[in-house]
Symmetry: C2
């Protein structure tokens, strides 16, 4: 079996028209969960608590939520994220909203599952900066409130990194945004979109955007088995000013993971859900505005120069994919009476 689906040339294979059935799908009301990690209320509560806990970073200042802020669009409004001690990397934080609908995680699809992804930043020296997962769990075990939460969630008090990752993944599977204006429209309320948004939607299909950005999450991964990367070359058409202006070809993408030249500049196809509220854009965060991002995509992926009117309609359509974001309660982080867990 092929390890990954590369969608180069897929535009040509699928004849997309607005008349075609099933192009437009509402987001499911719940996210799929793996057989070995069914979503339960106790796991979600534990996962939310861990997700917001900055004390599992070396400095005590960076939590999952620092870069994937669920009070905003699920990211951090920055071109690249800022980890412990003010360090920055080369890529922007993808939104956590609807990450549950991806077949792989990270910009280059290097993690197969949400569970695997959750562990990565904890020990990345420029993100949460912990030396290893044992030290992460040593801290978690010392915070007495967590013991009871792990027991509730998993029926035992082993408190392993895999349990922590499962809990965080379970929480993330609740971070979904069905019922956007687009979803309401697809479900039958034709007044839910403006005429500009409907124009943009038709254009999105007619131009071929939907070839890659297909399915209810607009990431081409709806029918794809978890663990199978769905990648696309970006930029596909490199002979234009945008590529140098925004340094789009510098990051090798998937090639950094596999070491294969054929994987150069391959990136996971990102969801377009909430794209309007996750500026700046692309893996390197180099493009500041959504209208510019739309023009860049049309040129680099389809070799099309959009008119201003087309751009505006596409932006209007993309704005219909925002939210609504569920109201959440704040977690209470377990306390460590008499001492700080950050100061050893």
């Amino acid at each position: 079996m092929k390890q990954s689906m590369v969608m180069i040339g897929l535009c040509a294979l699928i004849s997309v028209t607005t008349a075609q059935a099933n192009i437009w799908q509402a987001l499911p009301e719940s996210a799929p969960a793996p057989a070995d990690n069914p979503t339960t209320a106790a796991k979600v509560e534990l996962g939310k608590t861990l997700y917001f806990d900055p004390r599992i970073s070396s400095t005590g200042t960076v939590s999952c939520n620092s870069c994937h802020n669920v009070m905003e669009g699920g990211d951090d409004s920055r071109p690249n994220s800022m980890g412990v001690n003010g360090q920055t990397g080369g890529r922007g934080a993808p939104t956590v909203w609807n990450a549950a609908f991806y077949s792989t995680q990270f910009w280059d699809g290097r993690a197969n599952t949400l569970e695997d992804q959750a562990k990565g930043p904890m020990t990345n020296p420029i993100e949460m900066g912990m030396k290893n997962h044992d030290l992460v769990m040593q801290r978690v075990r010392k915070m007495s409130g967590y013991q009871e939460m792990f027991k509730k969630a998993f029926g035992d008090s082993a408190m392993t990194i895999d349990q922590a990752a499962k809990a965080i993944a379970a929480y993330e599977r609740t971070l979904i945004t069905p019922n956007s204006a687009f979803d309401v429209y697809v479900k039958g309320d034709k007044k839910a979109l403006t005429s500009a948004q409907v124009n943009g939607m038709n254009l999105f299909a007619d131009l071929g955007c939907v070839s890659c950005h297909s399915g209810s999450a607009f990431n081409g991964q709806a029918e794809v088995k978890v663990g199978t990367p769905v990648l696309m070359k970006f930029p596909t058409f490199a002979d234009n000013d945008y590529v140098s202006k925004y340094d789009l070809a510098a990051d090798k993408g998937r090639e950094n993971v596999t070491g294969k030249a054929e994987d150069n500049n391959l990136f996971r196809i990102p969801t377009l859900r909430n794209i309007a509220v996750t500026a700046p854009y692309f893996h390197n965060g180099a493009v500041k505005t959504l209208d510019e991002a739309v023009k860049v995509m049309a040129k680099t992926q389809l070799n099309i120069d959009l008119s201003t009117a087309q751009t505006n309609d596409l932006v209007a359509f993309l704005e219909s994919l925002t939210g609504p974001f569920p109201q959440q309660t704040m977690p209470r982080l377990p306390l460590t009476p008499g001492k700080s867990i950050v100061v050893e």
Copy 2:
């Protein structure tokens, strides 16, 4: 009128015994608010949103909550706080819980009100790092959701820094923790404290700790007019090993504010509410554990060497001053469709 109350020697003035009436007071169920900023639901909601918004820092990574984390003990578990770009200062973040019961703010009492305090970190180059308050409010004004919230809170849409500070202060006045085990005990339920805690409470009075740490917030500021600093020399007794071991005399304290030698090492008397969950201790965060902090205080302020049993009872008593912390909903931060407010 004297500008500040310095409590040096106050121990000698007040003859404290456990038999004395009114030593022990429960925390009020609500915090006092100034006449020009009554607490309203709309202000609290706006204030909470601003409090959690990292986009009013230069890097987009530091909010009020970053250092004064209300999901924890109201601070950040660190000896000193970490602001934008990983910068650190020389002092630890005081807890925001019950800050409403202080007569002045900051370790050196340099802000008269919660409203004044709220503005400080925004433009401190090593905290939130914004160049000036105009730039803070320029960002806030560009986030469309805020306009409606300011209008609801203040009846107009001027969106000034003073309104923002008033809203944050109004939110902070809801961050109080009445009904700790101590409060329940004081209100009549004599089973609310353990015998060790009652022993510690009596010792707290008999040794003279309560001379400074008096009133329902244990900060000596219960009857003191807002804007009047209540300060104490720390260390008072400097001829002991603790002072050098923990470098306790290095920070000039109030002298940094006034330039007067007589204000050397004067610090605001901190609340002991939630002290058990705000390690590490003192203005420089140099002492890691509560039992050590108790011993340091007895020696440097009262020239007393505590026994282990005394220390344990005092710690047990201080633990009775923790929480309970109210459940809160997460704010939804206003979004900026199509662009990031952090990237100009």
